[in-house]
């Protein structure tokens, strides 16, 4: 494969992977949506598949093309409403998406894409051959799978204009003719600028006349009255504009641009199989006036402010937009304004952009809202960046933060020297500025690593759907807050745990429809996947309305496994008992259901979550359902921390887990069953002597401060000797087997170059004497 191919291939793979994911999500959504909404989804699915096929054919990937073609045909039957959405069809289509995904995977690992399984191909052929439910649908239409401009009766509402009526033999040419029309429109745009100059005006008129002539031939193909009418106007203008007076030329020019805009709109919609209708009476009248070289009424002249959309509105070609309040924005050029309304992306090809700016005045208003394609929602302007580059950027920022800390430390030292006040101040100011800028840089870089949880969440409807099909349950998966953003690492580590929990909820939580009915519940179970930010943490909750966890069964199982004793068990509260399901080898299958093999992996949940410094909390009511709540810090690379001294050493405690810091007075500390506790307002806080915990020696009385930490509802007071201060720390892994085992989540480098360890609050709380006592077998 040549280099040229390789880079194209990479683009193809990236794009197709995204398209397939979208396709998957859309297909699953299709099943649960009523018929009115299906049209748009079907179109989107079709486009995704079609794009993949197009790109694949460019690269000569025959196996992909052939299969995508068949799948596309099947999808097309659905799209045209010839068959209706049902589980069998959807199964086949979803499997098709899987096959294409597999082919893409094969290609990205450097293999050839395999042929699709014949069985599935046959199944798809069966769907294609299946006699149309709608008897009127012609066989000929069914075979024209690739033509994008077909009529879609299903989704007439919400789209502008009327379906394009074309005889079948013309269908094939549609795409070509639309491209042709766009070409001419673009040429018009070049020429129209020349009208501004008297010297070039005549010449421009001649070339425009040529273009208009060609256009009229193309337009005839579509058999559209509006389009033909508009082009007739154009011809009319070009025949007289050459020797028209200046004021008239200006009015004419803007109308030419208006017509050009109409052509653009029409071509976009023709590709979608829609023909737009315009009211041409007023504009015809005005053009006729202009052609007699007479000026228009004063209130019309110039009222368009050189905006072609505005002129079309004035001339009544299209109805006023929803928000008619024009807001003059002199600096913004038309390209930006109009592309906002039509293509939404400034980076879009110019052919789709109605006007290039000839002048800088324009109206900043969503004039084209009504006619602009609804589905072209604002696409973010993005560039792709290799992850490796982001990683190295983050590393650099990490180093910079350390250096900044050093500079700040030097600043403090300078203050102790007897320097001139002025010099000191200017140095301080510079250091302060550096601190502030570093903070901003850090936030910006961290943001580049943030990704919406939708990347994960959007995969799950498929998982749940398949599971529901397998088990014969009815499950409705609700996704809330999938736009919540988290760090890339967090996202990756959340993926497996969430699948495990969801599977568990669907499999063991939600009951069979009959059972649910008998219990007076809706036969359709609901699983809600909810995400939101809580301070510097992100909270992900999986809520089902199933049968809930059974304390007794889990407790007995835990005793059986030797994880606890009956006495101990009695003292544990519900959420502690439920936590046993995360123990390795604790088969939930045996506990709550007859289905086997599904309980595996809940310990993966716990491992992954604690790797992220997160916590899990389970709340469950028997018969009502279970809520599993995961709390994870937003980011994992740089964080603010409190530096504390224990004995001779300094340690860092992540600020995000610190609630407050108190100084326990003599009277407040007492001992309960050998455990030191302190009264903190109306609660009892277990205290951990950090000196003992970290094997520090020291003679003088220590542990003066209690750092109150809390993670996921559990709290503890860590008694430390000194408080040094708050600082941004860069987390370095402490992953060598020699240094694992202690209650540390990593290390950080201090401004003097020494290493200081980061305390793992989760582990400290879990292993706090109280918890250890609770857990002791």
């Amino acid at each position: 494969m040549s280099d040229f191919d390789a880079s194209l291939m990479q683009d193809f793979l990236t794009e197709s992977t995204e398209l397939i994911e979208q396709l998957d999500a859309d297909l699953v959504k299709l099943e649960s949506i009523d018929e009115d909404g299906q049209g748009e989804l079907l179109n989107a699915s079709f486009r995704a598949l079609h794009t993949i096929k197009g790109a694949a054919s460019f690269l000569g990937l025959d196996n992909v093309i052939n299969f995508a073609h068949v799948a596309e045909d099947a999808l097309n039957r659905l799209r045209k409403g010839e068959i209706s959405v049902n589980t069998e069809v959807m199964d086949a289509l979803l499997q098709s998406a899987d096959v294409v995904r597999k082919q893409i995977d094969e290609l990205s690992s450097g293999l050839e894409a395999q042929e699709a399984p014949q069985e599935l191909v046959d199944q798809l052929h069966a769907i294609i051959k299946n006699q149309p439910a709608n008897a009127q649908a012609e066989e000929a239409v069914a075979t024209q799978a690739e033509t994008t401009g077909e009529k879609q009766e299903a989704d007439d509402q919400g789209l502008p204009g009327s379906p394009l009526q074309l005889p079948p033999q013309k269908q094939d040419l549609l795409e070509f003719m639309v491209a042709d029309m766009q070409d001419y429109a673009n040429q018009m745009e070049e020429v129209v600028g020349q009208f501004g100059n008297d010297a070039t005006c005549e010449e421009a008129a001649t070339s425009l006349a040529e273009i208009a002539d060609n256009l009229s031939k193309t337009a005839e193909f579509f058999e559209l009255d509006s389009l033909n009418g508009a082009i007739k106007l154009l011809i009319q203008i070009t025949s007289t504009i050459g020797d028209a007076p200046r004021e008239v030329v200006d009015e004419m020019a803007i109308r030419i641009r208006g017509i050009k805009w109409m052509l653009d709109e029409q071509s976009i919609w023709l590709e979608q199989g829609r023909a737009l209708d315009w009211k041409l009476e007023t504009i015809t009248e005005r053009v006729a006036t202009l052609c007699k070289h007479e000026t228009l009424a004063d209130d019309i002249t110039g009222a368009h402010e050189n905006n072609p959309v505005q002129v079309l509105l004035l001339d009544g070609v299209m109805s006023a937009p929803a928000d008619p309040a024009p807001e003059t924005c002199a600096t913004q050029n038309e390209e930006a304004t109009l592309s906002d309304a039509t293509t939404a992306s400034p980076a879009a090809e110019t052919s789709a952009t109605p006007e290039t700016a000839q002048d800088d005045d324009s109206e900043d208003k969503p004039a084209a809202n009504k006619v602009a394609p609804a589905k072209q929602v604002a696409a973010e302007q993005t560039i792709r960046v290799e992850v490796g580059r982001l990683e190295s950027l983050l590393n650099l920022v990490g180093q910079l933060v350390l250096n900044k800390n050093r500079v700040l430390a030097q600043t403090r030292m300078l203050e102790e020297l007897n320097l001139e006040q002025e010099k000191l101040e200017s140095f301080n100011a510079a250091a302060g500025e550096l601190d502030r800028l570093m903070g901003e840089l850090q936030v910006s870089v961290m943001k580049t690593r943030m990704q919406p949880l939708a990347k994960l969440f959007d995969r799950y409807p498929r998982v749940i759907r398949d599971l529901a099909r397998q088990t014969g349950k009815q499950i409705d998966l609700q996704l809330v807050g999938k736009e919540t953003e988290v760090d890339k690492t967090v996202l990756e580590n959340l993926s497996d745990p969430l699948v495990h929990i969801l599977r568990n909820s669907a499999d063991h939580g939600v009951e069979d429809p009959e059972v649910r009915k008998a219990a007076g519940k809706n036969p359709k179970g609901t699983i809600k996947l909810e995400a939101n930010h809580q301070g510097s943490h992100v909270r992900v909750a999986i809520i089902d309305d199933g049968k809930g966890l059974d304390r007794e069964v889990i407790g007995n199982k835990a005793i059986e496994k030797g994880l606890t004793t009956p006495d101990q068990l009695e003292k544990l509260d519900d959420s502690d008992v439920f936590r046993f399901i995360f123990e390795a080898g604790f088969s939930t299958a045996a506990v709550v259901s007859d289905l086997s093999g599904r309980g595996v992996g809940m310990d993966v949940v716990r491992t992954n979550i604690s790797k992220l410094n997160g916590t899990i909390n389970i709340v469950s009511t028997k018969g009502k359902g279970t809520t599993i709540e995961i709390l994870i810090p937003l980011t994992v690379a740089i964080m603010p921390a409190m530096i504390v001294g224990v004995g001779k050493h300094l340690y860092s405690i992540p600020l995000q887990s610190i609630e407050e810091i108190v100084r326990p007075e003599e009277g407040e500390v007492s001992t309960i069953q050998g455990q030191r506790v302190m009264r903190l307002r109306d609660t009892v806080l277990p205290l951990t002597d950090m000196r003992k915990r970290l094997n520090e020696t020291g003679d003088e009385e220590g542990g003066k401060f209690a750092v109150v930490v809390s993670v996921g509802g559990q709290r503890a007071g860590l008694c430390v000797d000194r408080l040094v201060g708050q600082q941004e720390i860069v987390i370095k892994p402490l992953d060598d087997s020699y240094t694992q085992g202690g209650p540390f989540s990593g290390a950080t480098i201090r401004e003097d170059g020494k290493v200081s360890l980061i305390l793992d609050v989760v582990q400290l709380i879990r292993q706090s004497p109280q918890a250890l006592e609770k857990r002791a077998a």
Binding site: L402, K692, D736, F744, A747, I749, V755, L757
Partner: protein, 181 residues
């Protein structure tokens, strides 16, 4: 024997003449002179601040900041079960790369003194004597008979292997007592 010593010759063996030559760095721990292949050594540093890591194996002195990377440092005296001695100023931290179970690890270890870089013929190296049996002596690859005395050739992979860690933990008494507290 020669198989065993391949580790020592490493990539330096390019021509016939060099074939039997081992290029080593030698250092002193306690009374003995030890040697490791020069190619395994990343750098040799003066003593620096070592941050203690509570609840790690006893012979792990702590961690250091090696230009932004945090690496563990092993005290070879403790590793060999020798008495701790007063600082002399000659101590060095030798940073080496060893093959871990899944990936390469970078580890530092403290020695009393770094002696010299030397080349010796593999013919003067004898296999480790069996008398020093017991699992803990597995890391001795061989003994070089030099004119001025014996040189103990160490296998870094064995010295810092995971298995050794466990053995040493039981032998030296891991200070995990606090973990149970």
């Amino acid at each position: 024997m020669s198989d065993q010593l391949n580790e020592f010759t490493g990539e330096s063996v390019n021509n016939q003449a060099d074939k039997d030559l081992l290029q080593l760095v030698s250092f002193v721990v306690g009374a003995e002179e030890y040697a490791i292949p020069i190619l395994a050594v990343q750098e040799i540093n003066r003593m620096m601040d070592i941050t203690r890591v509570p609840q790690s194996p006893a012979f792990v002195e702590g961690v250091i900041n090696l230009r932004g990377k945090v690496i563990p440092v092993v005290d070879l005296r403790k590793r060999f079960g020798m008495a701790i001695h007063e600082n002399t100023g000659d101590e060095r931290i030798i940073v080496v790369e060893v093959q871990g179970e899944s990936e390469a690890r970078v580890i530092g270890f403290t020695v009393d003194k770094v002696n010299r870089v030397l080349r010796i013929g593999s013919d003067i190296v004898e296999p480790a004597p069996n008398m020093a049996s017991g699992a803990d002596s597995e890391y001795v690859l061989g003994v070089g008979k030099l004119d001025e005395g014996l040189l103990i050739l160490l296998s870094l992979d064995k010295l810092f292997s995971q298995r050794e860690l466990e053995l040493a933990a039981t032998a030296a008494g891991n200070d995990t007592t606090a973990q149970a507290a």
